[in-house]
Amino acid sequence: MSDIHIDIKNKTYTTADSRQHTAISELKLSLPENQFVCLVGPSGCGKTTLLNIIANLDTDYQGEIALGLHHKKPNIGYIFQNPRLLPWRTVRENIELALDSPQPEIIDSLLEAMQLTSIQDVYPEHLSLGMSRRIAIIRAFAINPDILLMDEPFVSLDAPTARQVRALLINLWQQRPHTILFVSHDLREAIALADKLIFLSTPPMSVTSEIAVDISRADRDDETKIESFRQYLLSQHPEIKGLL
């Protein structure tokens, strides 16, 4: 698989009170293979719309998306803002349903990695939000995606849980590299996770700046390194201040 190129000329939709709203205009992005890329932008700027377009859930736009796979349909894992689990199926069934031919060993190891083995036969409504989010992450990983889309998957998790799930996510990703597109409006979180940050403007959304994060993976737990990078970013790139 090679790089992903996204070029959206225009995405306009009609709001409930029948006005035209231009969500995205002239947005160009290139995602290098197996990179962890964070999209950062103000809430409501159209990041979810962009992910839905990439996931082919929304086809009503002008532009082109080249996912770099010439012969096969790309396997896209999508971790939505809400876990979107089927409440009437158990944790394990939820994961198995996403697969065409479920391989028990893979699901077992993923459950183990996310520390969810003990609750695999429980129905999602009996679980906390943090657990549900972890199941959604397993489901996306289990399909062995070429591209993983994540839409603020750690929102409304308490800080220790979020940190734990982030660590598990990076761990899984390093074992099985693929391209990740991660949406966030939390700059610290983005710095801690990403190889590259892409800042997006208010609607109509386009790319404001692209900045590589040059902290080594081993130092990502270090709060002071993250914080100093953040300060550096804000001083070097004043244009992104208004977006946060």
Binding site: R84, P87, L97, P124
Partner: protein
Amino acid sequence: MNLSDKILPTLSFILLIALWQGLAVFINDNTLPTPSAVLTVFWQEIESGQLPHHLGITLLRLLVSFSIAMLLGCAIGIVLGRNQKLDAFFDNWLVIFLNIPALVTIILCYVWFGLIESAAILAVVINKLPNVIVTIREGTKALDKDLLEMARCYHFSKKKTFLHVIWPQLHPFVMAATRSGLALIWKIILVVELLGRSDGMGYQLHLFFQLFDVASILAYTIAFIMVIQSIEFLVLKPLDKKALRWRR
């Protein structure tokens, strides 16, 4: 369930029987027999095989017409719920069919198709169908779009989407249609039999009416209530329980 939850329904049932007994003794007339007299008739009718025969025929008609109405109604309801244009187009039809009195449909079916079994079944189906369609249509409109998107994103097949995403959400609506449907069909099917069949509960009740045989009418009514209650407890309640075990 604690003890008083069981005692109260029992007490209220005993009170009802006692009231009936008191009233029957007070009136002292053939038009209101005592509970024990009705029970005697009930046993006689069962032993002679009359009651099981006619009840069986009515149940068979119920089963056939109910199945047709539910299957057709679910299919049409899902289609209308998912297709706004079709829904807007057929909405008027539904309203009209919902409002045709049951008796009119029955009479027209017999006039147009003759006093035959299929006309009887058709009359029941036409009466029930619009109700099922409307209920299932509302259920389909209320389907969770987030989960449907998830299913699309993860390449669920059509069958998988229906079985695991759509059907569990429609289940409460199907159960509501089933319950209201059984109640409705029970009532209509008797009129259908009374007007144009020579067997079944409706036919028997008509006969008893002409003889002013209230004890038999009440005996058949008891059989009726018992059947409906056992369907509720043996079929519907367990189905509910099984389907809803995932809820908190």
